[in-house]
Symmetry: D2
Subunit: 145 residues, 4 copies
């Protein structure tokens, strides 16, 4: 059975706004990173521990659609979900909501590789099967190959 | 004839790195913004002046492909190009190079709307035809409708 | 009686690290801002509401002592305290701890003015006595003139 | 004779503003870092090379006085000067000007230690006398012990 991931909730910080009076768009990459690392913690994969084990997870690709602006004073809720997993890569989709009203605001996607400390590709399924299994536990059935 | 846009060149800042020893990926949205606003200055559209005129240009969508990492000490060169222009929207493509070696590193895209101070859509071709014309001057012939 | 301010607790974000493998020092200004605005919320002064009322609170001076580095994976606790209040200015002191171990890490100070939307000085005690009183409620007795 | 340090000049970026319509104060720590590393490059000390040699230079203390706000569209000029140098520490003072008008805007100070990769104090005068001499070359006569 698929492990349910709790949404990541946080307040918007003042310093994240710009003179357009909205959150500067570069912060969404940061919000998605926070939500992604929180999701990994929920399945027992603290990223500081992974880096200690020698597993580095850079971003290969990032996509954001900014349908609604967000503002200082807002509380946002980000629901990440694993959409793809191979022995060497994975992808995450993010839905961003207003945590107060429940209104849907924006969405994003990131894709990632597993690499070692020298940035060489790593087959994590072989090298660290328990890490691969933990990720697999939150992949939707319909996404499994 | 199409106006040639000079590339935007800048050094990587130390504070843009993270503990992976590379530039954190959220900075590319910022680099692209710098290159975009520099491009607009080159065609006579200083963004601070546009905001004073009441033209606000938010980002609607952003996409980045991170093929190569960049590092503190690198000098990067970003070549922006206008890929689409309508009376209410435009899109820009960015190619990022190592300014020292000329090596291609990464690419990105952003798309934008023209809105007024209340974030209502604005037909810039009607309201500010000289702004539209300036942008049109750097649109490649093959992209013109 | 003096109102007790609860400490502000938050996790360190990955994107706040730099290639020295510690939190980049520019983030402390941001952490202090988060703790300051949280402190103000605790006494009924949400800063988004203050700005709507036309009260702007810029930083006049900032000081940080970085005795210990902090790292991704750490949870920090910041205890702000109001150290000075006049009708036109105030100052806040911050003590930063490791929220897990209770170990003291760093400290900082900021001072602020009340200004209007045109950045002209504002006597907040006269113009908004309820705002002044709320701040006064968390000033230590020994700091009162 | 004392080596003259050229000022560090750069444009303010849009993403450095906040909804107060000024540069967010946390960026000054970054501007000072840029000016400091540029100053070190001017005397032959590229910080990426220093880190490769095992010399790490964390910030111990930071102080900023924000007399004037700065805005998107401004070009700023920062004049750093070495105010103190010992075998294990140094301090830098920064004066920030409007590069267009020459108007003085703000000032700041940082102090630093030399440490090794494990963050243990390093006597740089003993370990890397050429680094110490390069720094000494830009210390004002009246600051020399």
């Amino acid at each position: 059975m698929m492990k349910k991931i709790e949404p990541y909730i946080r307040a918007v910080n003042y310093y994240e706004t710009d003179q357009m009076h909205v959150v500067h768009h570069s912060n969404y990459a940061r919000y998605m990173e926070e939500a992604r690392l929180d999701m990994m913690s929920q399945i027992g994969l603290s990223y500081d521990k992974l880096e200690e084990m020698g597993i580095i997870i850079p971003v290969l690709e990032l996509h954001n659609v900014f349908t609604h602006a967000i503002h200082y004073g807002d509380i946002i809720s980000i629901q990440p979900s694993l959409t793809k997993l191979t022995p060497v890569r994975f992808s995450i989709h993010y839905e961003l909501y207003d945590a107060g009203t429940g209104e849907w605001l924006n969405r994003g996607d990131t894709s990632h590789a597993f690499v070692d400390r020298d940035f060489h590709p790593m087959n994590v399924k072989k090298r660290f099967p328990e890490v691969y299994e933990a990720l697999l536990s939150c992949l939707a059935e319909e996404e499994k190959a």
